[in-house]
Point group: D3
């Protein structure tokens, strides 16, 4: 029971990589994946990315966009990639992409693209500050700006 | 094993009412409900509303808006309400609202509001036509129009 | 995270309405629903009805009757309805009915009828008083009396 | 992948012995076992006893009696014992007893007693004959007769 | 809610007997049992045997050998048998055997053989002493010695 | 429902990276992760690595070594890494390492190390050939040789 503890010097913006295999318990009556299962995996991946970035517990606040591009089938390998794209005072947006891989043929298909917002919370569930996210290149800048548009749109809809 | 079959004359726009109790197996490390569980319940409620409306199998295509207003706690009773708000050629939007009830004190809190799009599919997973949805009153008309805006916004983001 | 709290003026005898969709993870080796899944849904629905009535935590004490009339199949929509039929000093009986709906054809079949007894408990698990249940019409009176017979039968069997 | 097949000469009335450990995923908001979990374990144990007796697939038809005598707690070991008590033309009754063991102190408590009826079915779900059950001693005879009384009571209630 | 407590005089070396039925939720994409499910059942059975022996909470420390001899299929009845084979200062080895039974034909096949090591822990998760295990016959002695060899091999690999 | 199919030119020896978050539904009565959950994640990760390598369906044949070095706690992020270390005619060994990360403090602890053997199977479950695995550097050569020793040891134990 020897524990090899080490304070990792990890990049708090390192993406979350997640791999899952689709079992019958994940499927719907059509034999493809049940939407709720993909949503759960996306929420876990996004939450870990946000948690690492904020170095704090987080709760899911909103999904601004989730698009199921192609069905995922029984036996497929599912690959999720989550990264923080935007941070405000206490909330962050993460982008989660999902690919379905047939590990026998080697074929991969983009399957889902999602944007979720999380808020950092303290022990009592009160929102707490998160570090600023400074885009490091052109692509990150474009994602940051797209996130701001999604956020603005959501706030507009919410007040309606 | 006597079966009382009867072809119900149900209104295919009747809302789906769903009640759940929050068990430890539904919670996250903070003791509130795990986001993926709420998303699964929302997806089931929305899918049944769409299935009834289309009289067809359906698959989840998109979430355009999902807002977690207040946390749901261990022991809470969760009340979901799902109804179709818009229909196009082969796709439909459903609105799902979620309330958290403390069944001991009687207090209820609005917890989540979500808009999901489903597409009707045949046995081979190919999209198939759905009936038109004609708003029956002012409120339904407002929801129909709001759905069209969300859809337009999604298509714009998707092409970007 | 704005919470819209409101102390609802709900009727503590309002029925519990529950809707579920049958996924492969709910089935047995025959492709119909696994009995334990239906029993779990029935227990949740009955417990919420009892909890609301007693305004108290409750625990399951007995099942006096549960009859599976017709099988529920993969893809079916399951509709549960639970209501309190009888109350004693610390215990209550709930009636739970289950219908299976083919949401594509619109056909509904009565699937299960169950009577469960719950006891209200305090924080230490000790039984606590529940309000009296006064039948409001002829049908409720008949159900109340039938509940008393089931209870008498159970107590007789139990002492045997 | 060498398979050691052997046609066992098993007594088709040998009881089913089942042991489970109570994990947090099995509990309710009170920290004791969720009723639906016990019901599922009882249904599995009873169904296997009936399946062995009938040498046929079976489906659950009824619960005539299920009494929760003492709560089962997180960390407890649960011991189930199921045996066929009665057989008719196509249906069988099984008795399932449940004990909760604290495997650290060695204390055991009787926790649940249940009587469930199963029907043997063929590939199309049609009822099929089961062998006769001949009581082998006084105790089995008493159980057989008690089963007949429960059955008569259920049929009476069912026709009401 | 009458509890029939009785301090059982159980043999702390009595084997754990566990029976499970294979449902679709336990299968993989090939229609046989998902390996992780068998491993979970084996871990529960082994942990209860160790917990009884040590009269203490236990945690899994190692699997030294687990061999899947024959596949387990949907609908099979799974029979597990777990017993402690060796005990050291704070750790114990358990042997778990798994048989797959077709409860309709009566055929049984040896399916899995596994050796797992558990350590007894106190409330803080610190290792605590376990009673000595004295082999009672030739077979137990052989198993005890084989366990020592597996342990020696593991410690050698671990230090490498 | 536009599918972006592309035959990926993936390295069939690329490691499987898997990330999971520990929820209450994954824990045991001690508040740490239930061993069976880690085993399931390890089996999925290892099976995907083997499936990719063999370009074939695979089944789990054996666990030759699984060592739980440090406990994984509620709220931890779990990081799994799986890669094929050895291949024979129809079977492969995969090494799976598990790290537990506290995503708030950034601390990581090595938690589990496991070696599992899978066999490639065709549609009927019959073993089929896998490609040879040629070690590409010194470290891979050492792992290959260690795998051969584990295999030899297992075959020796198995024949005993």
């Amino acid at each position: 029971m020897r524990a090899n503890k080490h304070k990792s010097s990890f990049d708090n913006r390192a993406p979350v990589l997640m791999t899952e295999g689709v079992l019958p318990s994940h499927t719907n009556a059509l034999g493809t994946i049940f939407g709720g299962v993909v949503m759960s995996w996306i929420d876990i991946a996004g939450a870990i990315a946000a948690k690492r970035f904020a170095r704090s517990a987080v709760v899911t606040v909103a999904i601004d966009y989730m698009h199921f591009i192609a069905p995922i089938r029984l036996g497929d390998t599912v690959l999720l990639h989550a990264a923080v794209t935007w941070a405000g005072k206490t909330s962050m947006e993460t982008e989660v992409t999902v690919e379905a891989e047939n590990s026998i043929t080697g074929e991969r298909r983009r399957s889902t693209l999602a944007y979720l917002t999380y808020v950092a919370v303290d022990n009592k569930g009160k929102p707490r500050k998160v570090p600023p996210l400074v885009p490091r290149d052109k692509q990150e800048k474009a994602k940051f700006e797209a996130a701001e548009k999604r956020r603005a749109q959501r706030l507009k809809w919410r007040s309606a």
